[in-house]
Each structure stands twice: as C-alpha cells, then as structure tokens.
C-alpha cells in the first residue's frame, strides 16, 4: 500500500534527510521531533521522580545522611520541592502529551504529511531542550537551585539575597521558564495552524479523532497562557537584575531593607495563575482526548456523545481562563471576588462530569478488551474522578482556607494533574508504541506496571488527603518534631514506602520500553483494530506519513461494532460504507 514514490506535484517537498544530524538531531520531521520531545520528557521524569524520592525520605527520616548526597537541610528540601514541581509540570506534563504524542500523531491523524511549519517545529523543540538544560544548570551554580516553589512567588523569588539558591540559581530558573514559554508558543502556533489548515480531504473538524480536538484546544490554551507567563517572567527578571519594583514591596530580608518599594507580590500571583490554571488543562486535556479514543477502541463501541465531548473540552478550556483566583483565596482577596471565582470553578464540574459519564457510557455494554492501553485509560478515568472530586472542596474559600497549605492540596493536584496525566502518557505509549517502533510492548510486564502503579499511586496520594485534614502542612521540610502531628508519622512512613514501590515499578516500564524496541513482537499495521488514519499507513510510518498519497476521509473516527460490516469496524478511509449507505 505504501509506495514511497512522491506524486509529481510534491517533488519539491522536503525529501527524507539522509545524514544523522538532519535525520535525528536537527530533524524537520514531526515524527522525529515527537520522539525527541518524548525522550526529553522521559529524562525529565526520571530526574523529577528522583527528587520526589529524596523528599519522601527526608520527611520520615529528617536526620539521615544519604550516601553521596549527605544531609538534606531544610533549604535543600525546598530546593527539591521547587525543582520537582517545575520539572514535572513543564518538562513532563506539558512536554510529553502535547509535544511528544501531539507532534507525532496530530499530522498523521488528520492526514497531513507534516506540521504546518517544520522549521518552527524543530526550533520549538530545541528551545525547550535548552530550557531544560538551563533548568538543570540551576543545580550547579553558586547557591544551587532556587527554593521559591514551582509557583515562584515574590518577594522570595525576586530578591537575590532572600535565601540560598535565590541568586544565580533563581535567575536560571526564570530564564528557563521564559525559554520554555517561547518554545511552547511556537509549538502552539504550529498545532493550531496545522489543525485548521492541513486536514486531508473529508476530514472535517467534526470527523477529527478526539485526540486531535484535545491537542487543538490545548494549543489554544497554550497560545493564550504562555504569553502571560512569559511577561510575568520578564518582569521578574527585571526586578531581580535591573532594580525595578514590579513585585517587590518595601520589605526586610535578613534584617536588611531591600532596595525596592511599592511593588505588588499579588501582581505576580495574578499573572502566574492566569497562566497556571490553564496549564492544569494543558497537562490533562491531551490525556482526556486519548482516554476517549482508547475507551472507544477497546470497548468496540462508538464514543458516547462525540459532540458533547468536543463541547465539554471547549468549555473546560474556556472556563479554565476564568478561575485563576481560586489559587489565591489565601491572598486576602475580597470575599465577593472569591465567591465569583468559586462559582466559576465549580461550574467546571459540569463539563468534567459530562466527560466522565460519556466515558462510562462508552464502556457500558461494550465488548471490552482489557489490553494495557485500556487498563491505563480506565485508570485515568478512576484517577480523574477521585482526584477531581476534591476539586469542588477546594473551590470553596471556606474549605480552601484551612486546607490550602496542607498535604490535602498536595494529594489533590497530584492525583488529578500529576498521576492522571501520567496515566495518559502511559496509555499513549502502550497504544502507539507499535506504530512508532513497529513492535509490540510486552503485555505481561505492562500489566505488572499498571497494577503496581495504579495501586501504588493511590497508596501515596489518598492518605495525603487525610494527613492534610489532620493539619499536616505542605512545603515544611520537617514535621516529625511537631507534637500534634506525631500520630501521622506511621501514615507518612507508609506513603514513603508506597513511593519506593511505585517508583521501582517504573523501572519495569523503562525496561519494557527499551527492550521492546529491540526485541518486542513484530507489530502489524493495525494491531488494535482501530479506525483512525495512523493505522492505515505503514508501521513505522514513512517520511511523508502516507507514502506519496494523501488519504481521503469518508467516516467518523469511532465506527466500532458496526453491524453488517466485514470487520466490526470501519476505517475512516473506507469508502465502501458511503456506497452502502
């Protein structure tokens, strides 16, 4: 099927590069760039996981001396908090689902040969990679990495003398974030243009797989949000290095009056959270799209309520821009403002519930195939519900104020934003691995990986809700000496051991990933019997994705369980059904 000859009018299009550098390093091919993003995220997640392990060890054994690393001082603990959060949010949760899988599969799923602007695509990856290097560099400069948390609240983040790590380390942190914003903006530009302008004949917007919708909406959120974070970062850099007072009020640090006056730390909070809340959806929307895809494929049923799914994602995206204040209930905002933010936040529960019920509706009565991608997709639904249900708690100022600075919030956002999105990444890996590498991943290992991770993450993050309600503060490097928290030490020990087990389970995944690339079972072109365009082409796809022809789309993306069809599904490119209809 896949002839590798170009049609005459495409002879001028960029041919497959031959040299190693142009093929694998500075590649213009969206598939290679997707893999580059994926492996960047994999590197980042290993670093981030390691940092979290150090935190968990420190929390229950605060006085232990670690081999090679020595003591973890309170300020080191804050460094770990900061870098774990920053690396995970930006370089894993934003990078892998959108930059990785989005780059690889958006053009193929809409029937395009590449992204709209390949050079820009390459640039956005390399700017992101540079941002990651600068971020890691913060560990190695004088004073080490910053300790202002991933949210970088000033004045701590804006005054270089405010603490160890707030000198050059914090500058590198801000520069890295600004670079990341530039990369993300370029990538968003590419995604939006590609989706709007590169769809194959017949691929109307409402025939796009929900994954494409999710990447498209995520790109719109990124376009509108990252510019704001970029601006906020520029102001922070100026405050740090040019003596301006955008964020720093007249204040005292270590007995010294700072040289700034009149700035407002709240200005940063507003700008940051105007980015920060949409960022949550930037991380999870691609996983929602993917989950919709997988639930349909592996239940052998059309997705329940395709249009409802699209509109739900759009309204989640829209509402996501109106709720940033719910991160700031503690800032002394007017109760009326807080009330408005609270109502808007709870309104997000409606589209979220629509999505959840539609996933359950799709599963209902389906002929479910419990392959590993499906396990992770169902795991995602479970985590989305249990992590999301504490959202309406925290959306209410009266509940948020006592819970805000406790482990309750840590548990909440890790389940919903962290683990749920990571489950999306895992599901995507198991699902698309055959297409990307031409081999299947080992199913037994995948199942072990799933169950250990699923049970493990619940064991880590569920107890945090109880610890938070019992008053365990977050961001504190040490609580074991606090009398009123003594009873929580066994619970925290349990969490740490659960973290050990869960992190070890990830080694199974990493082994499976690399081992299967070399030795996995050969995959056919369509091993999951799915209908979307990536399964119509060769495995792995040729340089121009469809081997010289462009597909024509006749069907929606979720034609499963079709009575009377020769197979139980109809490919998006099958014209036969149109004739029969």
């Amino acid at each position: 099927m896949a002839t590798r000859e170009f049609a005459a009018h495409e002879a001028h299009a960029h041919a497959a590069p031959q040299g190693f550098i142009r093929k694998w390093v500075f590649s213009l091919d969206h598939k290679v760039i997707g893999l580059q993003y994926y492996f960047l995220a994999l590197t980042a997640v290993i670093v981030g996981m390691f940092l979290s392990l150090l935190m968990r060890i420190h929390l229950i054994w605060p006085n232990i001396t670690l081999p090679l690393l020595g003591d973890i001082k309170p300020e080191t603990y804050l460094t770990l908090v900061t870098m774990h959060g920053t690396i995970m949010v930006f370089f894993v949760l934003t990078t892998a689902p959108q930059g990785g899988f989005g780059n690889y599969f958006l053009p193929i799923q809409i029937g395009a040969a590449d992204m709209a602007f390949p050079v820009l695509n390459m640039l956005s990856f390399w700017v992101t990679a540079l941002a990651f290097i600068v971020m890691l560099g913060a560990f190695f400069v004088t004073g080490g990495a910053p300790l202002h948390g991933w949210t970088g609240y000033p004045p701590l983040s804006a005054v270089p003398t405010a603490g160890p790590g707030e000198g050059p380390g914090a500058d590198m942190w801000v520069i890295s974030i600004a670079l990341f914003c530039i990369g993300a903006l370029m990538s968003a530009l590419n995604f939006i243009t590609t989706t709007l302008d590169m769809r194959a004949k017949g691929m109307s917007m409402m025939r796009m797989p929900l994954t494409c919708w999710a990447w498209f909406i995520t790109a719109i959120l990124g376009l509108l949000a990252f510019g704001v974070l970029f601006s906020a970062g520029i102001l922070l850099l100026l405050d740090r290095n040019a003596g301006t007072s955008f964020y720093v009020p007249l204040t005292v640090f270590s007995g010294q009056i700072v040289a700034h006056k009149g700035g407002s730390p709240l200005l940063w909070q507003h700008l940051f959270w105007f980015f920060g809340h949409p960022e949550v959806y930037i991380a999870i929307l691609p996983a929602m799209g993917l989950c919709s895809q997988l639930v349909s494929v592996f239940s052998r049923k059309p997705i329940f309520g395709y249009k409802a799914m699209v509109y739900a994602m759009l309204s989640i995206g829209l509402l996501g821009f109106m709720v940033w204040g719910h991160h700031m209930f503690m800032s002394g905002m007017s109760p009326y403002t807080a009330f408005a933010f609270s109502i808007m936040t709870m309104a997000i529960g409606v589209p979220s519930a629509i999505k959840t019920f539609n996933w359950l509706g799709t599963l209902w009565g389906g002929r479910i195939r419990l392959a590993s991608p499906m396990l992770f997709a169902i795991g995602f639904v479970s985590l989305f519900v249990s992590g999301g249900i504490s959202g309406p708690f925290l959306a209410q100022p009266t509940l948020d104020i006592p819970l805000h600075d406790t482990a309750f919030v840590t548990g909440h956002f890790h389940l919903i934003m962290g683990v749920a999105s990571i489950f999306g990444i895992f599901a995507a890996t198991y699902y698309w691995f055959p297409k990307m590498f031409g081999r299947m991943m080992n199913e037994t290992l995948a199942r072990w990986h799933f169950w250990l991770t699923f049970v493990g993450t619940y064991c880590i993050f569920m107890p945090m809700h109880y610890a938070g309600m019992a008053g365990q503060p977050r961001r504190y490097s040490q609580f074991t000496e606090l009398h009123y928290l003594e009873k929580l030490i066994p619970l925290n020990t349990f969490i740490t051991f659960a973290a050990f087990v869960t992190i070890s389970a990830q080694l199974i995944f990493i082994f499976n990933l690399f081992w299967s690339m070399k030795a996995g079972k050969k995959a056919s072109d369509n091993p999951w019997e799915a209908t979307t365009l990536e399964w119509t082409t060769a495995t792995p796809p040729p340089h121009d994705n469809f081997g010289g022809h462009t597909p024509v789309v006749y069907n929606g993306p979720y034609e499963y369980g079709v009575p009377g069809a020769p197979r139980d599904y109809v490919m998006q490119t099958d014209p036969a059904t149109v004739a029969a209809h």
Binding site: A13, I110, A113, M198, A200, V228, P563, V578
Partner: protein, 244 residues
C-alpha cells in the same frame, strides 16, 4: 439487528479548508515551482500562522497593560512616616517619540508598497515562466530597503529617546512609571527588530536561493506583522501618554 447508523453524519467527503495534506516545503529548496494552487495554500497557511502568532504576542502586551494599570493603583509604604502614599508619577515622555511614531507610520506605508510590488513581481515571474513570453521588469525604488532603513531609524530614535530619558534622570528603576516606559518600548523594539531581520532575509532572497513566491510569502507575512507593530506602537504610546 438494527441497521448501521454512523456516529457522525456521512455525506460526500467534504473538502476541508486544508491544503490536502501536502508536505510543506523545506527552507529554500522549493526551486522554481509555480504551481499556483500550492502557492495559494502556502500563502494562506503562512498568514494563518501569523494571525495565531500575533495572538500570542498580543497576550504578552495585554499582560503588560494589565500590570501597568494594576501598578498605578497600588499605594506604597513610606518608611519614615509609616503612611501609605501613591508613588506613581508619570514620566514626561521625550518629544522625539512623536517623530519616531511618524517614521514608523511612514515605514508602514512603504512596507505596504513593498508588499504590493513583490506581489506584482511574482505575477510577472509566473508569466515569464511560460516559454516565449518575456516581460520587461521595471526596477523602481526598493521599497523593501526603504522600509528597513525606516525601521532601523525608528529603533535608533527609540534608543535616543532612552538616552534622553536617562539624561533627565529617569532610569529603568527610578520610578514605577519609568520602569514601564523602558519595558514597553524595549519589548516593542525587540519585536520590531524581528521584523527588520525578516525583511533582511526577504531582501537577500536571491542570495539565499529563495524563489520569487517564497520571497513574496515572507514579504507579505512580514508586511502584516509590520502593520501590527505600528499599531501596537501607537497603542503603547497612547497607554504611556494618556492612561494615568
């Protein structure tokens, strides 16, 4: 059993607005192809990309505007009297900025002329590519070069305005309002400089072995970008001058 009902309405495969999934060209390697529909696709795609990109840039300046307005309303603590006072004093803007504004607006006009001139050149090139047809190309003023010169004059003018501000004692960190003057003019200057670089690439299109239509697409997109930058500058000037 019930008959097959598709989940999405099936009609004839509708043609999307897309470019039929064609592979986009590599930089500078699309030698001598004058397939007009493909050219239209590329132009439309580039313009769409520009609109999306400008949205991102607009968000940056919207954030600055929001910070500008918020900062104006904030009181600061006077450590001597322990009283809250307003520390926002508008910076007297150099008159030079008005001249710069005129220069930039003129450059926007020359940019438009350059855009139209290049469009004619592409049309001529398509004609002359037909064997036996020769059209004498008239070389007029290089509007492109003129725009570039005007753009650079504007940037030099902005630099001189900065010097004048500094000579009057207004540095980046002198007062909240002076911080914003430097911030907004500086960010705008960086963006305009990007436009100058794009014009430079377009001007050396033949040296860089770009075809006439590639050149046109670059000039066209830079043109719209340039107009946006002119408009943005007028907005920034109004913000600095009138919003207190």
């Amino acid at each position: 059993m019930a008959s097959y009902t598709p989940t999405v309405a099936i009609d004839d495969p509708r043609t999307s607005t897309g470019g039929n999934g064609a592979l986009p060209p590599d930089w500078g390697s699309d030698g001598g192809n004058f397939d007009s529909s493909f050219f239209d696709t590329r132009l439309r795609r580039a313009r769409l990309g520009l609109v999306v990109g400008l949205t991102g840039i607009a968000m940056i300046f919207i954030s600055f505007t929001s910070a500008y307005i918020v900062r104006q309303g904030l009181p600061t603590l006077d450590p001597r009297t322990n009283a809250l006072l307003h520390d926002w004093f508008p910076v007297p803007l150099p008159r030079l900025l008005l001249i710069n504004t005129v220069v930039l607006l003129i450059s926007s006009v020359t940019m438009e002329l350059a855009r139209r001139h290049t469009a004619r050149k592409v049309a001529l090139a398509q004609l002359t590519s037909v064997p036996g047809v020769s059209v004498e190309a008239k070389e007029g003023i290089s509007w492109l070069a003129l725009t570039m010169v005007l753009g650079l004059s504007f940037l030099t003018g902005q630099w001189m305005a900065w010097r004048e501000l500094a000579a009057n004692g207004f540095y980046v960190a002198s007062s909240p309002s002076s911080s914003f003057v430097y911030l907004l003019t500086g960010m705008h200057g960086i963006h305009l400089f990007g436009g100058v670089v794009a014009l430079l690439i377009a001007g050396f299109a033949s040296v860089l072995r770009r075809t006439a239509d590639s050149q046109f697409i670059l000039v066209d997109v830079t043109g719209w970008y340039w107009h946006f930058m002119a408009l943005l500058w007028v907005y920034i000037l109004c913000l600095l001058e009138f919003v207190h």
